[in-house]
């Protein structure tokens, strides 16, 4: 491994994003190490026999709910020749059968059957000491909290709650407080970049204040918003905590080339604040711009409702069955994870979107 340059963590060399050896070790030590990786929402596999596919690092994984109703995570590689036996992104089944040589498994990964196990006409077959129980699918440890499912390759991972730590558990519970979740859809995107860049991008409010006109102009997120990146004592976890500001010019916006005090939406319901769970927030938005507007127009300054008091920017039209905007649960969860954790989990508006490989479209 190359030597780390002088300057500590303030001088991160580009090779941490490009060195194949670093990448390989990340796969081993992080994704296959003593970590908990998000793999599914329990709402994606509500019934015994349900399954959904995902990956942990580069390893393909199937999350299942077995006959007893328990959650399982198994590696999507046949124990025989390593084929990805499960090809459907999700579905319902009683057993998995690998198409290559038809080895079959139950939903916990237990090997059920091997064709020609004793050979054909006295030829071939498995050795006499072959025991199915020794040749099941590789299994991951599973933890579920408030309907969110995590998996670990480690044989003896820490308790999920201890792993996440008190601070981050509070933020987690603020979004996933135990209310029943509903899958709204999937938004997947392939970004040609090292995986770390996606995480770091989300913890990079510097760029958000400069690049994203929409966030900046409408005070959704920008440098003068009350915000902080909270890291837990172990350094393993962090949360970007932010509160929504206003569409108002001030000393900070003077340095933001992307701030547009005059930008008004012709379809402002996009910014309607919807109460997602109980709190002090109420919905408000500026008067609609003239329908003939084809761009920036003059209007009264926008008033916005702070969402740290328990609201998430989400169009009211989401409440109509059938349609929703292209925001993901991950980004929405990030947006709404902005107030101190509630002391009691309130009953609430019930929804969530399951998502993988997402990036917000701002």
């Amino acid at each position: 491994m190359r030597p780390w340059p002088d300057g500590g963590t303030s001088r991160v060399p580009y090779w941490v994003y490009t060195d194949p050896d670093v990448y390989r070790r990340e796969q081993e030590r992080i994704f296959q190490g003593p970590t908990w990786n998000y793999v599914a929402l329990a709402a994606e596999v509500p019934e015994p026999g349900d399954f959904t596919r995902t990956t942990v690092g580069e390893v393909p994984v199937v999350v299942t709910r077995d006959r007893r109703g328990e959650l399982n995570a198994v590696v999507n590689r046949c124990a025989h020749r390593g084929l990805q036996f499960c090809v459907a992104p999700s579905g319902h089944t009683t057993t998995f059968t690998c198409p290559y040589h038809q080895w079959s498994y139950d939903l916990t990964g237990r090997l059920l059957g091997v064709p020609f196990k004793k050979g054909v006409n006295g030829h071939g077959g498995m050795p006499a000491d072959f025991v199915n129980a020794d040749h099941g699918l590789a299994r991951l440890r599973v933890a579920e909290r408030h309907g969110v499912v995590f998996a670990s390759f480690d044989a003896d991972p820490p308790l999920f709650e201890e792993y996440l730590g008190a601070t981050n558990l509070g933020w987690f519970d603020r979004v996933f407080d135990g209310r029943t979740l509903r899958v709204l859809g999937y938004q997947r995107q392939r970004v040609p970049a090292n995986w770390k860049l996606m995480f770091e991008n989300i913890k990079d409010p510097y760029h958000a204040s400069l690049l994203h006109v929409f966030l900046v102009t409408f005070g959704l997120f920008r440098a003068d918003s009350p915000s902080a990146t909270q890291m837990d004592p172990t350094g393993q976890h962090s949360v970007l905590v932010a509160s929504r500001g206003e569409q108002r010019a001030n000393a900070a916006t003077a340095e933001m080339a992307s701030f547009r005090a005059d930008l008004r939406l012709a379809g402002p319901e996009l910014l309607d604040v919807v109460r997602e769970f109980p709190g002090a927030a109420s919905s408000s938005r500026p008067a609609p711009a003239p329908s003939s507007s084809t761009g920036p127009s003059s209007a009264t300054p926008m008033t916005t409702t702070p969402w740290w008091s328990g609201a998430c920017v989400r169009p009211t039209s989401w409440d109509r069955p059938g349609w929703c905007r292209s925001t993901t649960a991950r980004s929405c969860g990030w947006l709404s994870a902005a107030s101190p954790p509630p002391t009691t989990p309130p009953p609430s508006w019930r929804w969530a979107a399951a998502t993988r490989t997402t990036r917000s479209t701002w």
């Binding site: 992104p89 899958v183 709204l184 859809g185 999937y186 938004q187 997947r188 995107q189 392939r190 970004v191 040609p192 690049l211 006109v213 929409f214 992307s258 547009r260 930008l263 939406l265 012709a266 379809g267 402002p268 319901e269 996009l270 609609p288 711009a289 329908s291 507007s293 084809t294 761009g295 920036p296 039209s317 069955p321 059938g322 349609w323 929703c324 905007r325 292209s326 993901t328 979107a353 490989t357 479209t361």
Partner: protein, 154 residues
């Protein structure tokens, strides 16, 4: 009055031409004031899941999208080209239900063109005094993944 096949073909050819030319004002004008425009992954559409990658309810949101693409979003310059084929007229009730296949290529500067999206339109076309307009347009893209960015409308 049910539009002729030629009228519909012209409508889709105009639609593709406006997008390829980057004439987003003309693109907006191909919709009715209350139109709904959706770009949806087939994965979600087939499973009846409501999440849409782009969702515009009404002309205002279409106008906003055109404006933001033009003046507020950062993206690498590219040439897109829309190929629309297999326009089918499925029936006329409150408007004309149409389906068509689309293929969108994009070429980033100094890069070879590549296929960006393929999929199917499921549209409702209505006759207005100004001509045929989309009262609803749903672009369902095949596969679940968008490569990097969905910059322009489909």
């Amino acid at each position: 009055m049910t539009p002729s096949r030629q009228d519909l073909r012209d409508l889709y050819d105009d639609y593709a031409a406006h997008l390829d030319d980057g004439d987003l004002d003309a693109w907006v004008d191909m919709f009715t004031d209350n139109a709904q425009y959706l770009v949806v992954a087939r994965e979600n559409w087939d499973r009846g899941l409501p999440l849409a990658t782009i969702r515009c309810d009404g002309r205002g949101m279409l106008v906003d999208r055109a404006h933001t693409i033009r003046s507020t979003q950062f993206y690498a310059p590219r040439v897109v080209r829309h190929f629309v084929s297999g326009v089918r007229l499925l029936g006329a009730d409150s408007g004309v239900a149409c389906t068509a296949n689309f293929l969108v290529t994009e070429a980033l500067e100094l890069e070879p063109a590549r296929i960006h999206l393929t999929g199917q339109y499921r549209d409702t076309v209505v006759a207005t005094p100004a001509g045929l307009r989309f009262a609803r347009k749903v672009a369902i893209y095949d596969g679940a993944l968008v490569q990097t960015s969905l910059v322009h409308p489909v």
